[in-house]
Symmetry: C2
Subunit: 186 residues, 2 copies
Amino acid sequence: MPKNRQQIPREQRTAELLAAATELFLRNGYAGTTIADISAAAGVAPANVYWYFPSKDDVFAAVMERMLSREARALEHELQGMEPLSMLIRGLDDMRAFRDLHRSMHSRMQESVAVREAHDRFLDWIRTTVYRVVDDYPGASDREMVADIIVTLFEGANVSDSPLRPATVMIPVLMDALMGTKSKSV
Amino acid sequence: MPKNRQQIPREQRTAELLAAATELFLRNGYAGTTIADISAAAGVAPANVYWYFPSKDDVFAAVMERMLSREARALEHELQGMEPLSMLIRGLDDMRAFRDLHRSMHSRMQESVAVREAHDRFLDWIRTTVYRVVDDYPGASDREMVADIIVTLFEGANVSDSPLRPATVMIPVLMDALMGTKSKSV
DNA sequence: ACCTGAACACCGTTCAAGT
DNA sequence: ACCTGAACACCGTTCAAGT
């Protein structure tokens, strides 16, 4: 007969599951991580995961949201008072660490609203940061257009792993070209 | 006892399978299409698909390659003598019809070389077409950089379905900004 | 060489039954 | 409320056996 009734508060168990899931997703990718893997790493039976999350996609979405908020918080603390462009570049650069999971979000967000919401949260963060950058330039023109372009470029750079320049290289070039200031060194 | 030995040449059966797979992938997506679906649509048993293709990913890759070459051929015929930018825009616009499958390529190309090759073929087509566009501008500067940016932007625009402008809107803006000619109407 | 039915492997998810 | 083992559902893939 199984050991049951482990007196662990709900939030702690959730946190354990998320921590285990984060590590596994990062190491083995979305498809390479099973619910059984996650539950085993957290010391529970597979079925028990469904007591805390409705589905694998929801675990995944929660993991991604957690990652983003941590990254955003870290950046705010670390780069206080730095110019917006540096912060943007730094954020995008850090996010390259989970490009693989970024790709998986795209394939899952069709079917899971949770994943879609997590993904949108990523784009919102980037868009907001881009706005700050744009407002920093003197001749700021079409804010929305520039933001769309940068966000889209980031998506493309992260998703494709053909021999293309990383977004962090292309974005400063683009900024200068679009905003018509600074170096103009295309 | 099953009907066997259907005297159909290998190429015809392959073509039937590909035609069936194309339609199903377009309608139901990669994950929504099973080998059983494809084989049924072609009138054979599921296992028989593996006589012609090593795996589902290889069927998928073949479908995508077929689509691209048809599209490219159609464009060459249809837009003969047109300016390169129109052709690029038109090609990218047509490709939006299978954005969903484009996304699936990204998630599968990690594990399947065939899918990766098919995907690279797409990017090659775009890159080549972008080169033509760049060479069309008088003050052509960094050809490679511009191509990278456009290709990446296309990837991003196709892959994300958040409320972003389509690549076909952003690209002309970018071209003008990067090449420093024409309207400059950012 | 081409085709089949049956079985295997894997995994997300459900559920009745425990504490 | 929380946890479990067992079973279900689905699907890509394999394989021995047909023609």
